[in-house]
């Protein structure tokens, strides 16, 4: 009880200290802004974004202009009748405005092709959109063949190749159904990355405490375990603050830009499982950070061993390729059972898979939870001795000895 009391004081101090530091505050707001910038910049630079108002000049020899206008109702065109010849059209197009010329005559109906003149400035989507004008012209073709209105109607309906399987649409990453699964996963990933990246400062906090030689003063008031737990909890809260800032800045923008009911997709029961995995992941990495931080006199003198251990949170990235290409494959399964890669791999897999492999999830989460417990114990042993060892970095051999005691 008194243990929790001291832990809370340390946590509060770490939170307060960081919230008062300029660099933390800048980072707090900069990360979501950078994230948004990366998300939105490509969109800003692409011309697809601007509504393309193509001026479409129609030379109509058949008197179907009104039907054509009706067929093009859902385009952004600005349609006009014209009497220009193809030569005049080409000259006019050289001026370089977003325009197109369409020539409709008897020949079009006979051959089934309509000559269209465009230039570089014509919207990229134009050639797709212009196909919509086929309908009215087909009607003219059918009339000329002398079919009854009913027969004409059947023929004019055309033939559609319909996807008869139950899969709703092709499963691209941003299809509607996919987003429904990706949204909670992506949120869990943002939560985990935020708390893990914020948590990396635990490492600095522990080694700074040694460098500033305040550890012994602090430890005259509380136990090493309380100090360690206080740091882990403190940086967890700081990570959550980062998540809140993320949500406040990025979510409105995402809702505005992406036409998907994000909130509705987000608050599903599955989110709880994903968040549990994210938090376990944080605790595992935090134990590693705090333990390793305590073995180092100075960050700039970090040895290879410490550097490698610091890279562990990035290990799930190794599995991105295999997991995305086969979310239930052997690599995805292996990644789920290795505690260091499990948090990232599980979140990736569960974002991609439609049917969750519950058995695997339970086993992987259990392995992760046990690892958290083991690593907390180890970190405690390392922290207790390391935090008071001044002036030099501990060697892997020394660390091993502390762990065995």
């Amino acid at each position: 009880m008194s243990c929790m009391h001291n832990t809370k004081k340390v946590a509060k101090w770490e939170i307060k200290r960081n919230l008062k530091s300029k660099s933390f505050i800048i980072g707090l707001f900069l990360t979501p802004l950078i994230f948004l910038a990366f998300l939105l910049l490509p969109e800003l630079f692409s011309s697809d974004d601007e509504p393309a108002t193509t001026t479409v000049y129609v030379n109509d020899q058949l008197g179907v202009y009104e039907q054509l206008e009706a067929a093009a109702a859902n385009t952004e065109w600005n349609m006009e009748l014209t009497n220009s010849t193809p030569q005049e059209a080409e000259e006019a197009l050289e001026e370089g405005t977003d325009a197109a010329y369409i020539f409709i005559g008897e020949q079009s109906v006979e051959s089934g092709t309509v000559p269209v003149y465009t230039n570089d400035e014509t919207s990229d989507a134009f050639m797709d959109e212009v196909q919509q004008l086929g309908g009215p012209l087909q009607m003219v073709q059918i009339e000329q063949l002398g079919l009854t209105a009913e027969e004409a109607g059947t023929v004019a309906q055309g033939i559609v190749f319909e996807d008869a399987s139950n899969e709703p649409e092709q499963a691209g990453l941003f299809s509607e159904a996919m987003l429904e699964r990706v949204v909670p996963g992506a949120f869990a990933a943002v939560v985990m990355l935020s708390i893990v990246f914020t948590g990396m400062a635990i490492f600095q906090s522990a080694s700074q405490e040694k460098k500033d030689k305040i550890a012994e003063i602090i430890l005259s008031s509380l136990t090493p375990a309380e100090l360690m737990q206080g740091k882990i909890i403190g940086y967890f809260v700081l990570g959550l603050i980062q998540v809140v800032v993320y949500v406040l800045i990025a979510l409105p923008v995402l809702i505005w830009r992406i036409d998907v009911p994000i909130i509705e997709y987000l608050f599903v029961p599955e989110l709880l499982v994903l968040l549990l995995i994210a938090i376990l992941g944080y605790l595992l990495y935090a134990a590693i950070f705090v333990g390793i931080g305590a073995t180092m006199a100075d960050i700039s003198t970090a040895g290879n061993f410490q550097g490698m251990v610091m890279m562990l949170p990035f290990s799930p990235f190794l599995f991105i390729g295999p997991v995305f290409s086969d979310p239930s494959g052997i690599w995805a399964q292996i990644g789920s059972y290795i505690p260091f890669t499990a948090p990232g791999v599980l979140i990736m897999r569960l974002s991609l898979l439609e049917e969750w492999p519950w058995m695997e999830i339970v086993i992987a989460t259990a392995i992760l939870a046990i690892s958290v417990w083991v690593f907390m114990k180890l970190a405690g042993k390392i922290f207790k001795i390391g935090i008071l060892m001044y002036g030099k970095n501990a060697t892997p051999g020394e660390i091993w000895k502390w762990v065995r005691t």
Binding site: I217, S220, L388
Partner: protein, 310 residues
């Protein structure tokens, strides 16, 4: 006076090397107990064992008012030898944090912090970042942090190291006044001259074991024999023929005569021969400083005294 801290038969070794062995002493309310010894004698190890930062291999440490052997951390003030402060925080913030860790009421801590900052010439520095302080200022802030929560027992490991003489006096005065108000103080130092004038009792440690202990006057009476310094040109034979002389340090112009324990200065002075060339003469006890140097350099002045005593 109540005993605040009792250390009995404390021993600690690293690997096969015995760092301290059989260390026993106590610290009473309102007294200054000095733990003395050269660098590496085992002073900090002793203190770290008391503070629970290390665990002793043998012996017992008892605090007053402590149940089931727990260290009453909130009642102890500790200034470690290896000390520092967080760099990028304000002076007042860190003082209040350290007081909060001791469960000391915050508004009272704040008021006391301001008083002490003023007392130590750091008025107006409460809102300054620690990294802007000079080394001496930082030491003062650390000292304030160790006494802010009104500890019953104050443990100071080399409190004077790195301080200028003015600050040393400031610290000494404050330590004295704390003791007068009832704080039990355990003070370690290798600067004997600083401690000599303020300690009530002392415990001299060398190579991890006790060399001398007792109240300051006892120790002086026991170990600090008289020595007589004579300026003047006297031959070695003349000086050697003087009674009660155990050892002579002779230079051209002056000689230091170390006298035996049983010497009575007045009688000894009266019996000095008339032909002795005396330009200047002084007689005083060997200082703790000299005893200390003796021990640290393994001369045997003290040993002689000790053997004679035995």
């Amino acid at each position: 006076m109540e005993t605040m801290l009792t250390v009995e038969g404390l021993g600690k070794s690293f690997k096969d090397k015995q760092i301290i062995s059989n260390i026993s002493f106590e610290v009473k309310q309102g007294e200054i107990m000095a733990l003395l010894g050269p660098n590496g004698a085992g002073k900090s190890t002793t203190i770290r064992n008391i503070m629970g930062i290390m665990y002793p291999d043998e012996g017992a440490i008892t605090f007053r008012n402590s149940t089931n052997n727990e260290i009453p951390r909130n009642k102890i003030g500790y200034l470690p030898e290896e000390r520092g402060l967080y760099k990028n925080v304000k002076v007042m913030d860190i003082l209040l944090y350290l007081a909060e860790l001791k469960d000391y009421p915050l508004n009272r801590a704040k008021q006391r912090a301001l008083e002490y900052l003023k007392k130590f010439g750091l008025e107006g520095k409460d809102n300054v970042s620690v990294e802007e302080l000079s080394k001496g200022m930082g030491q003062k802030v650390q000292f304030i942090a160790s006494i802010l929560h009104e500890p019953e027992l104050l443990i100071l490991d080399e409190p004077f190291s790195g301080l200028d003489p003015v600050s040393q006096e400031l610290f000494k005065d404050e330590i004295r006044s704390l003791a007068k108000n009832g704080t039990a103080i355990l003070l370690s130092s290798h600067q004997m001259n600083l401690v000599e004038e303020m300690a009530d009792r002392l415990f001299l440690i060398h190579r991890g074991t006790k060399v001398i202990s007792g109240s300051l006057s006892e120790v002086k009476k026991e170990y600090a024999n008289f020595k007589c310094t004579i300026h003047g040109s006297n031959s070695h034979q003349v000086l050697e023929s003087l009674p009660e002389v155990e050892r002579i340090e002779h230079s051209e112009e002056a000689a230091v005569l170390y006298l035996s324990k049983r010497v009575q200065p007045a009688i000894w002075l009266r019996n000095l021969p008339e032909q002795l060339d005396v330009q200047e003469l002084s007689i005083d006890r060997i200082s703790l400083h000299e005893i200390f140097i003796d021990i640290a350099t393994d001369k045997n002045l003290l040993k002689e005294a000790g053997e004679l005593h035995a």
